[in-house]
Amino acid sequence: MAGLKVVGRSLIRRGLEEKLTGEARYTADLKLPGMLHARVLPSPHPHADVVSIDASVAEAMPGVHAVFTPFDEEASGLFAGDMRVLDTRVRFVGDEVAAVAAETEEEAERAIESLRVEYRVLPFETDAERALRPEATAIHPGGNLWGGEPLLLKRGDVASGLREADIVVEGSYVVASHSAAPLEPRAAIAQWDDDQLTVWKTSRGVHTDRAHLSTALGMSEEKIRVLGPHFGAGYGAKDESRCAILAAILARKAGRPVRLEYSRYQEFVAGRVRHGAVIEMKVALKRSGEITAIENKTLMNTGAYLASGAGELRRAAQGGLYLYRCPNVRYEGRLAYTNTPVAGSYRGLGAPQGHFALEALIDQAAETIGIDPLEFRLKNHVGLEGQPGRRTSPIDQVVDTQPVEGGIPFSSNELRECIVRGAEAIRWGKPVEDAGEPHMKRGVGMATCIYRGGPGWESTARVILNRDGRVELHTGIVDVGQGAHTVLAQMASEAFGCGYEDMRVVSGDSDVAPHSPITAGSTATFSAGLAVKKASENLRDGLLELASTYLERPKEGLDVRGGFVVSNLEGKRLASVSEVAGGMPGAFIESEASVVPGSADYIVNSFAAHFAQVEVDTLTGSVSVVRYVAAHDSGRIINPKAAVNQVEGGVSQTLGLTLSEELVTDAASGVTLNGSFLEHKCPTIGQYPEIQTIFVETEDPIAPFGAKALGEPPSVPVAAAVINAVYDAVGVRFMEIPLTPDKVLEGLALALRQAQDER
């Protein structure tokens, strides 16, 4: 696609300037006249029935305008499946019991303290495996195994694959629960105007939030308007909470606007965490290096409620099912309820856990048969042609982005090139530079990944040309910080034919924006991009109609470029877009397009190969990543600088999962012990490694301008790349993450003892 003017350029990120000056307003920065402040009472018990609540003291307090308990009528509404607005059964410490609204924060706090709650305490479970014992207390009516049975996915016959093999390697891998911990805690402001509700909230999808509010409050969507101001990120973790619903109910009771903000501790506990997982993986292979079977048994802890657990359990499977060419694969996934904070979406949604186990075990498999891990991957990774086997789904049906069946090719697949170019950049196979001190050990490791390429839900975009020449892109897609508005504006400008600066993005208002799904699953660029591109092309067509009349020339010879109508033949500018627009009969022309993204012929997936060079301090057990190379196939890159930022950020963020972050629940009390930025150890700038990003650009034939998903893939291979590098450095295969200093020191000591015993 030669001659692109806007797409492919590192243009300045939309909204960044106002973020830099402090002008950008986030939900908690907004104040409404007469606004009250809300506070929530968290459950002190991990599992209990709320027998009664005496709110008489709170209700009598001056300044208190509303008290809301699970015994109110509005409390029983279900939203997000298994969660009520407020429930008389609480299922984890921090589960919300009641809420109040008062004139000041202090008065609201005092009112919460004054509530007298009688609980009937129930037995509780904090561990997923224990929660599945037959005698365990059921947390939900169907029992603690979600769905009542495991999720089974398979291709071919694993048993015969195991029989054919010369060698079977296996391992049991553990990933701890940890929090996405967006810097902005959840917040919502609700205001009623008669029976019309307006909500400002920390939102990654105003339409999805409107639907949740409608379900929970039992009112029609038309009466609800959701506004999403600037968004302090969520990485997937910021939906499905009660925050906005509670604000809305309190505001209705009080007859005044209400603001509810979560404290940092509440964000850690009542927000969403990444599913902890135990993964038992087997790889069967022939001495030649051919893989004959991959088996994966995964148990995930979804906490007290399901949230996005089903999707998480599914996505944890995909690496094992599809990253390596293999006729026989099987996945058995179990999702357990426990009385711990709710696990939900978080960047990569299960794939980081699944890939950690797979890619650590693949390294071991390669070593077992004496092949370099890089060679082994080059020999076995899935190619453009897809997996062996026959397609079983109807040939006119849109192909799942996470297929199990074989026989379907990818629309594009540059995984091999990612591996080759990444290896070159990290200088794979060359001696690693010495750390200079004998107790510092260095090593190099790699891992690869496969991930959904962006086809998601139906998406709609509207593009408007006003008579004064202004062009507006209306989208429901929220910029969650990744730069979606930047990328969509670039696509719209390119497709319409105006400058990037001339394309205004209007978003974040459910009344104005065309219906859009949440910004999730790395779908914004691909799925919303398709709609944006189509709407913009149609608008260009509309403009050309106008221009044809205005210029009295046939439409066929005209085009729009850089904000001008040009003649294709003479290649010269005939009139500016504003000039032509000025002559239009109405106030504006608009074009709206809806697209169901996907392909019936191809799997659209993104790929990456990551390489880490680590340094292990054998005195302190501390692991630091010194150098990192991330090579990605995400199709064409729309904005290289923003894309690099996205990759670097994804890698660095996932070093937390790999090396330091864990949300710890006290087994005796069910209390989350370390819900703070001090004790839940997110990476600081001190841990940031030197990261080199490589884009193996290819123009995907299905994707808008050839651009596939990029949001989540950077988080997927990180843990295995680092853990494999640690093995290279110290010769110990660690199977539990986060790999904190205690595990390193104990692992090294154990290895030393074993070596001494052998002697």
Binding site: G621, D666, S669, L673, L745
Partner: protein, 327 residues
Amino acid sequence: MNPFEFVGPESLKEAVSLLTEAPGTEVVAGGTDLLSELKDGLRKPRRLVSLAGIEELGGVRWGNEKVRLGASVTLASLVDDERLAGEFPILRQAARSIATPQIRSVATLGGNLCQRPRCWYYRHPAFPCYKKGGVHCYAVNGYNRNLAILGLGASVMVHPSDMAPALIAMDARLESFGPGGRRTMALDDFFAGPNEQQLQEHVLERGEIVTTVSLPKPLPDTSSVFLKAQDRTGEDFALASVAASVSVSEGLVTRANLILGGVAPTPYRAHEAEEYLVGRPIDDVQPSKVAELALCHARPLRHNGFKVILARNLVRHAVETILNQQS
């Protein structure tokens, strides 16, 4: 946060009388630790007495024999003071390892010595633990990865101060002023374990204020080092730290201070290791022997066995570093 009254006296005398005149009165210097406790409702004072306006608590004063550090000196100025870092490099090493630039701008030396435990059970309002006046130490049988391996008592907390081991290693003395007037003591004697004190980690009486920490100028041929291990670089308390200071004369070790931080309810002096060192020819010192002796009393809990390995490694590395400096 519960409301309170904030008062800012200008003299020590005035501060002491404010602190003793009514119950529910507490002292605040930088406030970086106290404010978290107030916000979490761990303490609910009715009045805070600020020390910021008391001039004599500020400044670094040099004498012929020693230097006096005012209790209100910020950690940032301990990092930035070139003369201090020249004479006592270990102080800069310790100070710059603490918290973050924003905390160091405000947090004071006195506050660092008087800070409260960082144990997760202590910091969580849900647990009425021993150090908050309760009867149980929830950490003994709970999640105790970060806690004590030495000096276990009614609580298995560890003292969080990084300045304390470094200062004690340099033979610091502490001066205080209270209702009973002024007194001085070795900084080593300032700290009190859970069996001596329940609601504080030091020996100060009610209304008594830390005024100064003084350090004698180091002897010639003194080598000192501070090492700290933490979960992540930046914004972290010590999993374990060690401050070592050794003086040598005519080839013999004449003075040895070896203090461990983050492993016991008070800064922990490794007596056996010090005794091994003093009087020994420096060339005969075996770092691993010192490390073994330093941890000879260690009794790890369920989740913190690694801290014994860690502390031993740090001591060994500290002694090796000193031997290198001395050779």
